[in-house]
C-alpha cells in the first residue's frame, strides 16, 4: 500500500483527525492569546497581586511535563471532583491553561521591560495619550511579542498530539489506528510528519522573518 492508496482508503478518517486537531488548536490558540494577553497586561499593571500570582502558576506549570498535567486533569482531578468530562474538553482546557500562562509571561515581561524613556519622549513632545499608546507603545510591544508568541503557538500546536493519550481522536490517534490496521508505519508517520511540517515550518519562518524585520535596535534603552 503506497501513500496514494492509504490516502484514498483512509483519507476520510485522516481528515476527521485533522479536523479535530485543528479545532483543538484553534481553541487553544484563541483562548491562550486572548486570555493570556489580558492576564499578562493585568500582571504588568498589578505586579504584586496578579503578576506574582500568575508567575507562581507559570513556574509550577513549567516544572510539570505537559503530558503529566494532562493526565492529572483527566484522571485524578475528575475522580476527586466526581465528574466525567469529555476528553476533548479536558485536552482543550489543559492545553489552553498552558498556553494562557506562557502567553501571559511573554506579554507581562514585554510590558514590564518596555523602555519607559520612549514614553517620556512622547510626553515631552506633547503627544496625546491615545497616540502614545497606539503609535508608539503598541507597535513596539507587538514587534517585541509577536515572534515569541508565534513560537509558543507552534509549541502548543505540537502538544495537541498528547490529546491522543486520553482518547481524543485527533490526527495522531487516527494515524495510530490506521497503522494498527494496515501496518505501514513509514508511509503513515511520514504523512503525519509532512502535515506537521506543513503547518509549523511556515509559522516558524514567519516568526523568524518578523524577528529580523521588526526587532530593531533597542540599544537606546
Amino acid at each position: 500500500m503506497n501513500f496514494l492508496q492509504i490516502t484514498q482508503q483512509y483519507g476520510e478518517a485522516m481528515l476527521g483527525g485533522l479536523y479535530v486537531t485543528l479545532k483543538l488548536s484553534v481553541i487553544i490558540w484563541v483562548s491562550g492569546i486572548v486570555v493570556g494577553g489580558a492576564l499578562g497586561t493585568l500582571g504588568a499593571a498589578f505586579r504584586t497581586s496578579v503578576g506574582d500570582a500568575s508567575r507562581v502558576v507559570s513556574v509550577i506549570l513549567a516544572g510539570m511535563p505537559a503530558l503529566v498535567f494532562l493526565f492529572w486533569m483527566h484522571y485524578p482531578l475528575q475522580a476527586y471532583l466526581e465528574v466525567v468530562i469529555d476528553p476533548f474538553v479536558t485536552a482543550a482546557l489543559t492545553l489552553s491553561i498552558i498556553n494562557i500562562f506562557l502567553v501571559a509571561d511573554l506579554v507581562r515581561g514585554a510590558i514590564v521591560d518596555f523602555p519607559r524613556q520612549y514614553l517620556d519622549a512622547a510626553r515631552v513632545s506633547g503627544m496625546t495619550m491615545s497616540d502614545t499608546l497606539f503609535q508608539i507603545q503598541l507597535p513596539l510591544l507587538l514587534r517585541q511579542i509577536i515572534p515569541g508568541l508565534l513560537l509558543i503557538q507552534i509549541t502548543v500546536f505540537q502538544m495537541t498530539i498528547f490529546a491522543s493519550m486520553i482518547s481524543v481522536d485527533e490526527i495522531f490517534r487516527v494515524a495510530q489506528r490506521v497503522n494498527s490496521i494496515i501496518y505501514r508505519p513509514v508511509e503513515i508517520y511520514t504523512l503525519l510528519a509532512i502535515f506537521f511540517i506543513a503547518v509549523c515550518v511556515p509559522l516558524n519562518l514567519f516568526a523568524h522573518w518578523l524577528r529580523i524585520r521588526f526587532t530593531r535596535d533597542y540599544s537606546e534603552r
Binding site: 524613556q117 510626553r123 515631552v124 506633547g126 502614545t132 513596539l140 521588526f214 530593531r216 540599544s219
Partner: protein, 242 residues
Amino acid sequence: MLKGLKIRKSFGEVEILHGIDIQIEPGTITTIIGPSGSGKSTLLRSLALLDPPTSGSVVIDGEEMIFPRDTPVPANFAWPRLTVVFQQLFLWPHLTLRQNAVLPLRSRGISSPEDRVNQIIHDFGIAGLADRFPNEVSLGQRQLGAIVRALALQPRYLLLDEITSALDVEYVAMILERLKTLREEGVALLLISHLIDFARRSADQIVFLDGGTLVEQGTPAILDNPESSRLERFLGLVLEAR
C-alpha cells in the same frame, strides 16, 4: 521664564538634589557643568517635570507647580513648549528619523507637519538620512534626528542633555550655530555638557553642580576665574584630562 525654586529630589532615602534654585531666561543659554553623579541630569528631569521634584516648585511663564502634590502634573502644563533632547535620545526605533519628528506634530493636530520637519531636516543637511530608521544611522546622526524632533515642536524652553557627546567637531559647530539662532529667536536653552569649551563659547550663564548642590553660577567668566575651590579643582581635572 523657567524657574526651579528650592528643588529637592530624593530616590528612596537618598537625596540627590539639595534645594537648588535656578532661573533660565528666554533668549539665553544656560549650561550646567559638574562631575558625574553631581545631579545634572536629575535636575534637568526635575525641571522638565519628568521626575517631578520631591519638594520645591517649578515655574514656567509665571505658572507655578508646587511639590509635593497629590495629583500628577497635567500633560499640558509644560509640554511641548518645554521639551527635552535626552542624552540617550530615545528616538522611536520603529519610525524613520522623519517620522519621529512628524508624529508628535500630527498628534497635536498641526497642519502640514511634513513641511515644518522637512525645512529643519534641510537646514541640518540630513535630507539623505531622514527616511532611515534610527538603527540605520550613526549615533551622531541619531543625535541630529533627536534635535530635529525637538526643534520641530518649536519649543520656548529646550533642555538638552549631553547632546554633543557623540558628535564630531563639524556637527558640534553646526549645533552651536543652531542653538545661537534659537537664542536669538527668544528660546530659553538649558544644556548639560561636559565640554568646557563648548560651554564657554555657547553659554550666557554657567551653573556648576556638585553633590546635588549648586556650588557656583555666573557668566562664562567663572570658568577662567572660579570663586569656589571646588569648581577650580574640577576645571583643573578637566584640563588634565585633555
